[in-house]
Every structure is written in structure tokens, then in C-alpha cells.
């Protein structure tokens, strides 16, 4: 589902962020991506989200080669990859419902279908009662759950999350990770960057470790 082949990423200011990274994630796998800050975790996720392109090497996601993907196809590709961010990236002036609906609105889904699917997604993350609230009225954990609902509302086959629990306490973090596990059980492929090693070890999923832009450890399928 996600395959990296000799991927390099070099920034003019910072130098090499990723060097010769190779790995493959099968469809339906749930994989943790760990490593220190600056090890290249975010860079890797940004490459998968096509927010950036690699300096060298090939990335294949859901059968698409990102290097040869035409510009016009990028929006359609992004609808197949749900992205979750540490800072949630919610629109502060829109309601929870509107935030979650955004991927469906941009994809041209009809009003009735949007209502149905947004409520289903909010139900999955346990926020059905807060659909009219604005994000600022929610706690950090709730905001992240809204971010997750937005990532899954379009039912993408792939979910990538960049430090989704970076600002949350351990209990809330566990809740979020259990939520991810539920998506894993219904067949979604997940790649979750985190440095919460305790949680990673307790959950027993495949873990890839990056250090200074190199892949230093891959536990393989658990």
C-alpha cells in the first residue's frame, strides 16, 4: 500500500532529512513510525501527503507512483490519503460539523450524503453531540478527534498521522490510539508517527524507527 524505494530528501537550508529510505507497508497494516525529533518522521509523512516531493527515489501509495503523478491528479490522490496533524489544522471559525464535512464538500458530495457521513464519522470518534460547537470550545483531545473524523470521513484506504497525541496526556493518548486500532480492524492502512514509546510498545504493532534520516529499525509484522 505504501512503498518507499531509495528515497532521499534534502533541504537547501537543513541538509539531508531522509537518506536512502526503503520499506513497504501492506494494505491493512498498522505501523508506528518512531524516532527523535528531527529524525525525519514529519518529512516522510509530508512526502506521502505530496506536500513535498522527494529529492530522489520513488514512492508508491495505493498503486500510484507519486513521482509521475500529474499535478491535476494531486487533489484526487489526497482524497485517498487521510492526514492527521499534531496541531489538528481545524478551521477555528467553522463548526465541528463543517470542519469534518470539508473533504466531502471539496469532493462534490451531495448535501444529504454529507450529513449522513459526517454524523457517522463524528459518531465513530464519540463527538456526535458536539457537531454545532466551534473547535475553540473543545478540549485538546476532542479537537484531535475532530481532526481524525475529518481524515476518515471520505473513507480513505490510507491514514497517516503526524504526532497525533503530541499535546495530549497519556490517558487521552491511549484513547486516540485505540480509535486508530478500530480503523485498523476494518481494513484501513495506518502510518502513525509518534515518540510515545510506552504506548507503542504496549500496543504491539509493526514499528519503523528513523534516526537522522535513516531507517535504523523495522520490527516487521508483529
Amino acid at each position: 500500500m505504501i512503498r518507499f524505494e531509495h528515497v532521499f530528501k534534502r533541504y537547501p537550508e537543513r541538509g539531508e532529512a531522509l537518506g536512502n529510505v526503503n520499506f513497504e507497508i501492506q494494505a491493512g497494516e498498522m505501523v508506528f513510525l518512531t524516532g527523535h525529533s528531527g529524525a525525519g518522521k514529519s518529512t516522510m509523512l509530508r512526502l506521502i501527503g505530496l506536500i513535498e516531493r522527494p529529492t530522489r527515489g520513488q514512492i508508491l501509495v495505493n498503486g500510484r507512483n507519486l513521482a509521475t503523478l500529474p499535478r491535476r491528479q494531486i487533489p484526487y490522490y489526497r482524497r485517498e490519503v487521510g492526514m492527521i496533524f499534531q496541531d489538528h489544522r481545524l478551521l477555528p471559525d467553522r463548526s465541528v460539523f463543517d470542519n469534518v464535512a470539508l473533504p466531502l464538500v471539496v469532493a462534490g458530495v451531495g448535501q444529504k450524503e454529507i450529513g449522513r457521513r459526517v454524523r457517522a464519522a463524528l459518531d465513530q470518534v464519540g463527538l456526535l453531540s458536539r457537531e454545532r460547537a466551534t473547535p475553540v470550545a473543545l478540549s485538546g483531545g476532542e479537537q484531535q478527534r475532530v481532526g481524525i473524523a475529518r481524515a476518515v470521513v471520505g473513507r480513505p484506504p490510507v491514514l497517516v498521522a503526524d504526532e497525533p497525541t503530541g499535546n495530549l496526556d497519556p490517558d487521552l493518548s491511549r484513547e486516540i490510539f485505540e480509535l486508530f486500532e478500530r480503523f485498523h480492524y476494518v481494513g484501513v492502512t495506518l502510518l502513525i508517527a509518534t515518540h510515545d514509546l510506552n504506548l507503542v510498545q504496549s500496543m504491539r504493532h509493526r514499528t519503523i524507527t528513523l534516526d537522522a534520516g535513516r531507517l535504523v529499525n523495522d520490527t516487521g509484522d508483529w
Binding site: A27, G49, R78, R150, G154
Partner: protein, 321 residues
């Protein structure tokens, strides 16, 4: 995984697509209008600037068109007024006018006797006191001469004027249409000038709309970025800004129309009074149907093009760095 994908594909059906596309456009149009209303003061200022910019050339057009109709009314007046010597009496003038109608240059002759002229003079108003001082009528007999169409050109009229002056009864001949033609040439010049002014102000409108949309794009940077991340196409991102430009254009054009129409209504009364002093039925007319259409169409187009320029300069679409 397989079930996930098949479920995903159960999106909108092909037959629904045109309807979805239309409703999306309609929704964007309404949303954009709603957004303009959320910031009433800046929006109103932009609309006012566009309105005033477009009202100037439109008002100039209305003015020249009105002057043209007014001048058109004067076409009915004689081409040459022949003032007869004081010695000539009415019977003399009658015979002369009958003579003149046999000339190939002359279509018809209208005789204005001294009494008629005095009567007309009195009716004009403003001269009552002066006329009371006068004991005998100082006005000459006038023959108003209307040329045949083939002799209506200025150079031919001049020949006719010279020919008329050689008549023993002639005292003085005034060409009435020459100044009219000059006047029409001036109108043409003013009209071309207003077109030029319209072009310049149109560029101004482009810049105003472009700048407004640029600020709007900067204000909504985050929203644009997030929409791109969740799969919005470049067209989807652009659409609201293009609609905003079109709305600015439409509202600005309507403002221009209102300004011009209001000015015409305000001037209607004084102009009618002035016209009545000249015993004319002249009525000031506003922007006609066609001119209104052109004003609104041009303003919408300017708004669209202005926002299109801003959007192309400041939105790069979903392109990765």
C-alpha cells in the same frame, strides 16, 4: 480492504454529476455573497469605488447622447435664414418665396412676417420690458429656407448662401446648420474621449478588484491550505474568489447605474424648464436598455478578470514544494 474500496466507490453516480456541479456553483455564489455581507464596510467601499469609476464614463455617455438628441431636434430648423431688407414688404416677400421654391436647391420656404417674428419674440419671455419701450417693429422679414437633401452638404449650402445674397432683396443670410455640424463633431470627440476615459477607469477597476481579492486570499490562507490538503482541486479553490469578483462587478455596475439614473432624475426638472424656455419638449433620457446592459456586462467582466488575475498570481493550486 477490498470492502473498504468498494464502499468508497459508491459515491455520486454519473447522471447526478451535472446537477451536483450546478448546485455547487449556486452554493458557492450564495456563500460568496454572504461573505461580502459579513464585512459590509470594506465590501461597500470597494463596490462604491467601482461604482463611481464606472459612473463617470456612463454619465459622460448619457450627457453626449442627450445633447445629440437635442441637436437632432434642431435639424428641423431651416438650414439658411434669409433676412430681407427693411424696404421689402409682405407681398414682396411672398412673391420672392414662391420664386425660391422653383430653385432646384430649395425644398421649401417658410415666411416669417414682422408681426409673427415680434409675436414669437414676445412669447420667448424675458424681453417684455424692452419691447414695451419700442414703438415700431424693428424686426425684418425672414425667409427660412430648407434645402433639398442633395444640397444639404456644408459646401453646397455655402454656394446657395452666396446665391441668395446676390438677390436685391437680401440683407443678410445666416447658415444655421454649420454650427450644428461643428457641435456634432465636438460631441463625437467627447464621446471618443469618454470611451478612452472608460478604458482607463476600467483598468482602475481591474486593479481595485485584483487588490481586494488578493487581500481576501491572504485572509483565507489557512482555509485554502487545509482545503488543498483534504483534496480540493485548483478549480474548487478559485471558484469563490472568481464569484466574489463577479459580485463586486455586478454590485459596482448597479451602483454606477443608480448614480447615473439618480443624476438624470435630479436634472430632469431644471432641464425641462430650460427646454420650455426654448419652447422645446426636450426630455432628459437616462441610460437606455442597451447601455445599461453594456454597463452591467462590462462591470461583471471587469470584476471577473480582476479576480482572475489576482487568483492566478496568488493561488498556486495543490502543487507540492
Amino acid at each position: 480492504m477490498a470492502t473498504q474500496r468498494t464502499r468508497r466507490r459508491r459515491g455520486p453516480r454519473l447522471l447526478d454529476l451535472p446537477g451536483i456541479w450546478l448546485s455547487q456553483h449556486w452554493q458557492t455564489a450564495l456563500e460568496t455573497l454572504g461573505r461580502l455581507r459579513e464585512t459590509p464596510l470594506p465590501s461597500a467601499m470597494t463596490v462604491a469605488v467601482i461604482g463611481i469609476s464606472l459612473a463617470l464614463p456612463a454619465a459622460l455617455y448619457v450627457m453626449t447622447e442627450n445633447l445629440r438628441t437635442m441637436a437632432g431636434g434642431w435639424d428641423q430648423t431651416a438650414a439658411i435664414s434669409l433676412f430681407l431688407r427693411f424696404e421689402a414688404d409682405d407681398t414682396h416677400a411672398e412673391r420672392l418665396s414662391q420664386d425660391l421654391t422653383t430653385w432646384p436647391e430649395v425644398a421649401r420656404v417658410h415666411l416669417i412676417t414682422r408681426e409673427q417674428a415680434l409675436e414669437e419674440f414676445r412669447a420667448l419671455g424675458g424681453f417684455e420690458e424692452a419691447l414695451e419701450q419700442i414703438t415700431n417693429n424693428p424686426l425684418p422679414i425672414v425667409l427660412a429656407i430648407y434645402p433639398t437633401p442633395t444640397y444639404a452638404a456644408p459646401d453646397r449650402l455655402e454656394l446657395l448662401q452666396n446665391k441668395l445674397l446676390k438677390l436685391p432683396e437680401a440683407d443678410f443670410a445666416r447658415m444655421d446648420t454649420l454650427w450644428l455640424q461643428r457641435f456634432q463633431a465636438i460631441l463625437d470627440l467627447v464621446q471618443s474621449g469618454s470611451l478612452l476615459l472608460g478604458g482607463l477607469l476600467g483598468v482602475g477597476v481591474l486593479l481595485i478588484v485584483g487588490n481586494t481579492i488578493r487581500l481576501e486570499i491572504l485572509n483565507r490562507r489557512i482555509e485554502i491550505e487545509i482545503s488543498e490538503l483534504v483534496g480540493a482541486t485548483a478549480a474548487f479553490i478559485r471558484r469563490p474568489f472568481l464569484y466574489a469578483g463577479a459580485w463586486y462587478g455586478l454590485l459596482g455596475g448597479t451602483t454606477a447605474w443608480l448614480l447615473v439614473t439618480l443624476s438624470v432624475l435630479l436634472l430632469q426638472q431644471p432641464v425641462s424648464r430650460l427646454a420650455s424656455l426654448y419652447r422645446s419638449e426636450f426630455q432628459l433620457s437616462g441610460l437606455g436598455f442597451a447601455a445599461t446592459g453594456i454597463t452591467l456586462g462590462a462591470s461583471i467582466l471587469l470584476g471577473l478578470v480582476g479576480s482572475w488575475i489576482a487568483v492566478n498570481r496568488h493561488l498556486r493550486g495543490a502543487e507540492p514544494q
